[in-house]
Symmetry: C2
């Protein structure tokens, strides 16, 4: 039973500060004179060669002592597991996944009258270890920045030069950020989702049709966080979901989110109308005790909004939304999610579970974007946000969907206004409907923009969206695509030091430090593999030109020659104009360089032994 | 000797109007009651089963008569081909590509004193057949739209409800659009590049290191236009480029662009300082006679700007730009491109070649975006635009490069202002530097945005950007990515009827017309292949749910049930609230549906015979 381990190439795991915050440090070629680059690390101990990984034991409980020391929790006898928790009609577990060994029999909850939410502490002025961890993590261990010039357009965000624990506390207290951290998930490494922090991404996983090897199930999580998923939603349905969820939580260093209505629906045989508050409530307790960090609750689907959605081109595309819509129609009343919302909140605060208020009426096509149904629900989500905040419970808001570019900003503006700046958690949005098979890109375009406008977390979309179930490669492509979209948003918002990694990679590119380029990229393996498809020879990794242009046409090489020339003349770049007078020297130098380069290039090309399909075309620089 | 042929699946080639404008018509399932969807078609006769393809003969000369009938051209003895035209030291062509049979020995040029540019005709109030062709093509054969509500934010563009030949003439006359159409490339199907027309994309191709099979070279063009490239740039270098270019032009239905300085540099042994105006001028004539439709000319690289670029993180990344920079320094004078610009314009107007004024100083990294060097050059490009317009020569302007999202709009605004609304032709821009291997996406994000802001043509970027040479698959991914970015821009700008295809696909999606979904998508093969990886059974193509959720959780199915219920009650959607009273019927109906669906689903799942990696997770709708 194994999962994917091993350090990400070219980098090593470090632990920074008193809270031992996990980060990744990318080391560059010694000759470069460049310092290591620290990057945000979501991958947990799995990428730490020094860590001992045993999924049977689960991860270390980083937060256990922090939680206990607050003195406001009690343990109690866990709710008894029922066969239907695993989608079974009887107690027989044959063919199911094996139960996690040593399941906690006495989970934690808030003492009577207590509230263990991070928001509650924040509002009482308490800076928790979780907040300290987040501050260190968001700063990537750097000290206050003097050297970097702030740049970017933040659309009204309040991004500080330096994140202090007090800033984190204040953001959580105001509801502008959440730290999803169920007290029964002490294995999680604290992270913040908020407009004034780095943009985060979520990856969805789900159990397989035939789940038997739990390591394979856990590896879906491990694989997602290896490439950068900040949180993971377990959208499993069908059999064995309780046991599978236990395996995932015990081995997850990132917050885990779920949509409890799915499991509740399974318990009533898949018939939406048979759902009841009791079944749902029991499911919330079941998952709360396991340690789920945030729940998607579609409480905004109100009876009066359903007819608005029925008129649409694609109706209701949210599963949870359609389930509740059907329930509402069948019973002709408001959903139990809406009617029992405050009771749900009571449960949330006893475990510090964050709300992810679901957008059950989000548009599923360009035609339905920003319509009456969507915004009506958003207003209700705003109402519910303030109701949850009354009890100091953390909230984020889910958003669309399919939205053309010119309608994206309105979504962000309305959400900020209606939901009091509670973090926005959007899916894409997809900016066109006509590219199935490429919807990680149609949505990446929208995700980068809405992230720039202020969305705090982006839910990934894979190439298989609308078509089928993503495989391992699809998940990686989806995560990396969203990671680059989130980073593009951080750059545009002007997050301090976001550009450090871009600059380091660009310098490596300019100086032909190929390995540094690979190691600084979001996906080093793919970068190197693409490079080697054209120039596999080892020498090519130090060649002072690349396969796209060759030595004669290498613009970077020419620029370097120009610089060297200036240096030789002991002149600043500004001296070029005069320097040009002795241009004959440039000619001589570069003639030699070109000839030498040509020999080297032809040697390398021969080494490939294969024809190059596109030749010198198909690359950006002309 | 063959190239890729055959119709694009699910669609057939049609020819519309008196000018027989080629379009593609996607036919949907008869049962759907949906009309065929007409889409813009760049693929030429290669996707027409009725067309006889013979690359030895070249394509039919659609425009030949139009050009002759204008009575302002003369034929003359072509410039004699020299060995160095093919990068050879001697006349020996062994190992080279075979020459195209029946090369035109007497090319056309304007009669003395005449000007054959489309802009010249436009400014004299003449509507050419090319302009008529473009009008029909941009309208996709539709009549004036009454039924569509215009939507979108065009940022000051002037997009008409309906494109008339007179509108095309006026746009060309004002310099806001170009119709690249060298009189020696009569095989081209006229197309317009302009802010008020559909956003276009360009693909780059280049000759292979070892070119022998000319069909393989021609197929790079055919493959690019099959997936949607509106123009193709031949960026070949090295040997056989003259002959390869001849094969490409004679078989190309789209305008071909080149960067003549590349070939000129080859002729002087790759030593930039040895370039002369005479060598360059001779190269322009050589390519003009072959029929190249637009030339990238880096005349904006002025001596005084070079020191600004040398200070950058990535210096000069444009090949043409670096070549000219080196020449300027070596000779300490303004480039021959700048000094002889008006003479170049004389040549352009004699063949109707459009300028693509190159941005030799574009930023090659986030750090260098929007800097002094870049914008200084842009101002010079503005000056040159107006100089070219004095002689009625068509102009477009090349743009960046690497630009973070918050700095993209400034590029568009400055270009519109400085270059008098001449069409902008941008590369990406890439919105971050940290994702080599995914730069089709980092740039697709920027491309969609700048296309929305007003860029007329987007130069594609492939996944191999910065790393290696794209293969056939990379080219397809690059083209499709840019096609979806351009379409997202058309939607956001509010092009009339741009949303027709999105709506048709979304209706197909909602009604589970899988084949229609595939056929309406930009890449039907990939869409179907992804679908079949999860549910290969034929029945799955008509299954009324998809693999992501299964029948119990299928939101679209539930919405449909809700609608059917309303219909049964003979009520409008608005009647749902009352209808809800008899919700028991919904319950009954859906209970049966769910059970039936479950059986069907399990049968289909069994049919796959394989475990589904990600299970029900990893898809957008919760």
């Amino acid at each position: 039973m194994t999962v994917t381990t091993g350090s990400i190439r070219g980098s090593k795991k470090i632990h920074v500060g008193p809270r031992k915050v996990a980060m990744r440090e990318i080391h560059l070629e010694p000759g470069s004179g460049e310092p290591p680059v620290r990057v945000y690390d979501t991958s947990g101990p799995y990428t730490d060669p020094d860590a001992r990984i045993d999924i049977m034991a689960g991860l270390q409980q980083l937060r256990r002592d922090w939680i206990i020391e607050r003195g406001d929790v009690e343990d109690y006898d866990a709710r008894a597991i029922k066969p239907e928790d695993n989608g079974l009609k009887g107690p027989d577990r044959s063919g199911g996944v094996q139960p996690f060994p040593n399941v906690v029999q006495r989970p934690l909850r808030a003492k009577p009258g207590a509230n263990v939410s991070q928001m509650h502490y924040a509002r009482r002025g308490i800076i928790t270890p979780e907040m300290e961890y987040v501050a260190e993590r968001e700063n990537l261990g750097r000290a206050r920045l003097a050297e970097y010039v702030r740049d970017g357009q933040s659309w009204g965000a309040s991004i500080p030069d330096y994140v202090t624990p007090e800033f984190v506390r204040d953001e959580v207290a105001r509801g502008r950020a959440i730290i999803p951290s169920n007290i029964n998930h002490p294995e999680s490494e604290p992270m913040a989702i908020g407009r004034n922090f780095l943009v985060k991404i979520n990856a969805n996983i789900g159990n397989s049709a035939v789940a038997s090897d739990v390591a394979a199930e856990v590896d879906k999580l491990v694989w997602s966080i290896r490439w950068g998923a900040d949180t993971v939603m377990d959208l499993s349905t069908g059999r064995n979901i309780h046991d599978t969820r236990e395996w995932i939580l015990r081995n997850s260093p990132v917050p885990i989110g779920t949509v409890p209505i799915y499991q509740a629906l399974e318990k009533v045989g898949g018939i939406a109308e048979d759902l009841t508050w009791d079944v749902f409530r029991d499911t919330l307790i079941e998952q709360a005790e396991q340690g789920v960090d945030y729940f998607t609750i579609h409480a905004g689907v109100r009876l009066a909004y359903i007819p608005m959605a029925a008129k649409r081109v694609t109706g209701i595309v949210s599963r949870g939304g359609s389930i509740m819509a059907k329930w509402c129609l069948a019973h002709h009343r408001e959903s139990f999610l809406y009617e029992h919302f405050d009771e749900i909140t009571e449960i949330m605060k006893a475990y510090d579970i964050a709300y992810s208020l679901g957008d059950g009426l989000r548009p599923g096509s360009i035609a339905d974007a920003n319509d009456e149904a969507q915004f009506s629900e958003l207003y209700t989500l705003g109402e519910l946000t303030h109701r949850a905040w009354k009890q100091d419970v953390q909230v984020m808001i889910e958003g669309p969907g399919h939205v053309p570019m010119h309608k994206i900003k309105e979504n962000m503006e309305k959400q900020l206004q209606v939901c009091g700046e509670a973090p926005f958690y959007t899916l894409g949005p997809l900016t066109t409907d006509i590219a199935p098979g490429y919807d990680h890109i149609t949505s990446g375009i929208g995700a980068a923009q809405i992230g720039w406008y202020g969305t705090a977390m982006l839910c990934y979309v894979t190439p298989k969206e609308h078509l089928g179930l993503p495989d391992r490669d699809d998940v990686k492509v989806g995560v990396v695509t969203y990671k680059l979209a989130a980073h593009a948003a951080d750059l545009a918002k002007g997050h301090p030091a976001a550009q450090v990694r871009d600059d380091a990679l660009s310098r490596a590119r300019f100086e032909f430090r190929w390995r540094d380029q690979f190691n600084l990229s979001l996906d080093p393996e793919t970068a190197e593999q693409y490079h080697d498809q054209t120039l596999p020879a080892e020498g090519a990794k130090s060649a002072h030109f690349c396969s796209m242009c060759g030595p004669k046409f290498c613009s970077m090489k020419i620029t370097q020659e120009v610089r060297d020339f200036a240096a030789k003349k002991n002149q600043a770049a500004d001296g070029f104009l005069e320097a040009g007078l002795t241009g004959a020297e440039v000619a001589q130098a570069s003639k030699a360089a070109a000839l030498k380069g040509m020999e080297e290039m032809s040697r390398l090309f021969k080494a490939t032994g294969s024809e190059l399909y596109m030749g010198a075309g198909g690359r950006e620089h002309d």
